[in-house]
Symmetry: C2
Subunit: 190 residues, 2 copies
C-alpha cells in the first residue's frame, strides 16, 4: 500500500500548515477535509483523536488523520489538557496567566495525538514537548497557547519562532513524523 495523499480533518489552518510541512518531507501530500469532527469528552487525547478518526472514516471512506492536541500544566493537574481549544476560546492566554499568578512550578507539556484511519487499519501516534509557562505573553506566531509556552532549553516562546523552528520541537511535528515513518514502512512492506 502506498499512501501519497492523506486528508486532515480540521478547520484549523495553522494545524494544516504545521502538519503538511512535516509530511511533505516524506513525499505525502496532506489535504484539508472539512467534515464534522465528533470529539468525545475524555482526558485521553488518544481516545478523542481515534474516535473522531474512526467516525470520519466511516463517513467519507478516505485515508485520513485527526489530530488532537493540548497543553498540560503540571501545577493545574493537567488543565486545560484535551479541552485546550475550548479553554483558549473562553479565557485565553490571559486566563491561564491569571491562574498561574504566584505559582512557582511553571512546568507544562504540549501533547499531540494523530490518529490515522486507513481501510482496515487504525493507529494513533503521539508526540510531546515539555517546557515552561512564561510569566507573560510573547510573540505573534503560532496559535493558541504558543505565546506562553517556552520549550525546555529555549528562552523564546513558540510564538516567537518561525513554523520551521517550532517544528524542530513541536509535539505535533513529532506525532506527524511518527505517522509518516509508519506510512513509509508500510510502503516498503507492501
Amino acid at each position: 500500500m502506498r499512501i501519497r495523499e492523506l486528508y486532515l480533518v480540521t478547520s484549523n489552518r495553522h494545524k494544516l500548515v504545521e502538519a503538511s510541512n512535516v509530511l511533505r518531507e516524506y513525499g505525502i501530500e496532506l489535504k484539508p477535509l472539512n467534515v464534522a469532527k465528533v470529539e468525545v469528552q475524555s482526558e485521553s487525547l488518544e481516545e478523542v483523536a481515534l474516535t473522531a478518526a474512526r467516525l470520519a472514516f466511516l463517513s467519507v471512506g478516505k485515508p485520513l488523520v485527526v489530530e488532537d492536541a493540548g497543553l498540560f500544566i503540571e501545577a493545574l493537574g493537567g488543565f486545560p489538557g484535551p479541552y485546550s481549544s475550548y479553554v483558549y476560546k473562553k479565557i485565553g492566554v490571559k486566563g491561564i496567566l491569571k491562574l498561574m499568578e504566584g505559582v512557582e512550578d511553571r512546568r507544562a507539556c504540549f501533547r499531540s495525538a494523530a490518529a490515522l484511519a486507513l481501510p482496515g487499519m487504525e493507529r494513533v501516534f503521539v508526540g510531546e514537548v515539555c517546557g515552561f509557562i512564561a510569566r507573560e505573553s510573547r510573540g505573534s506566531g503560532g496559535f493558541g497557547f504558543d505565546p506562553i509556552f517556552i520549550p525546555e532549553g529555549e528562552s523564546r516562546t513558540f510564538a516567537e519562532m518561525s513554523v520551521e523552528e517550532k517544528n524542530r520541537y513541536s509535539h505535533r511535528a513529532k506525532a506527524f513524523r511518527r505517522l509518516a515513518e509508519f506510512l513509509s514502512n508500510l510502503r516498503e512492506a507492501g
Copy 2:
C-alpha cells in the same frame, strides 16, 4: 404508557439525590444505572445529554435519563459551561475565584439538560437558575461549584442550603420537573 421507574445514568450520588427527590413527588422512582456515559465535546448541554442518552439506550434498552449541567459565567464567555465537571476537578472553586479576581460583573447561570430516552422516543428538558459568583467560597452542602453560586434574590450560596431549599431554585430540579410533567401527561394521554 405509564413510567413508574426510570434509570439515571450517573455515578454522581448528589445528582441522584437531587433528581430523585423531584421525581418522587410525581410517583416516579429514579434508579442509578452505572453504564458508560459517552459525552461529546460540544458547547450545547442539550447535545451532550441527548447523544449520551441515545447511546446508553442503544446499549441497555431501558427507559433512562442522562443529565448534564454546567455553570456559565458571563464575564468568562460562558466558561466553564459544559466542561464544568472537568474544570472543577482540575482547578476547582479556587481556580474560578482566581479567574474572577477584580472582575465586577459576577453574573452567572447554572444550566441543566435532562435527556430522556424511551422506546421510540427521546426528549430534552432544560432548567436554568441565574445569580452571581460569590467573592469567596461558603458552605459545605451540595457539590461542584455550589459554594460560590448565589441565586438571584438570595444572600446564601447553594452550598449553604439544604437539598430541599436548593431544589426550590435549582436548574436540575427545574429540568427534572419538566421531564416529570411530560411523563405525567404521557400517562393521561395513554
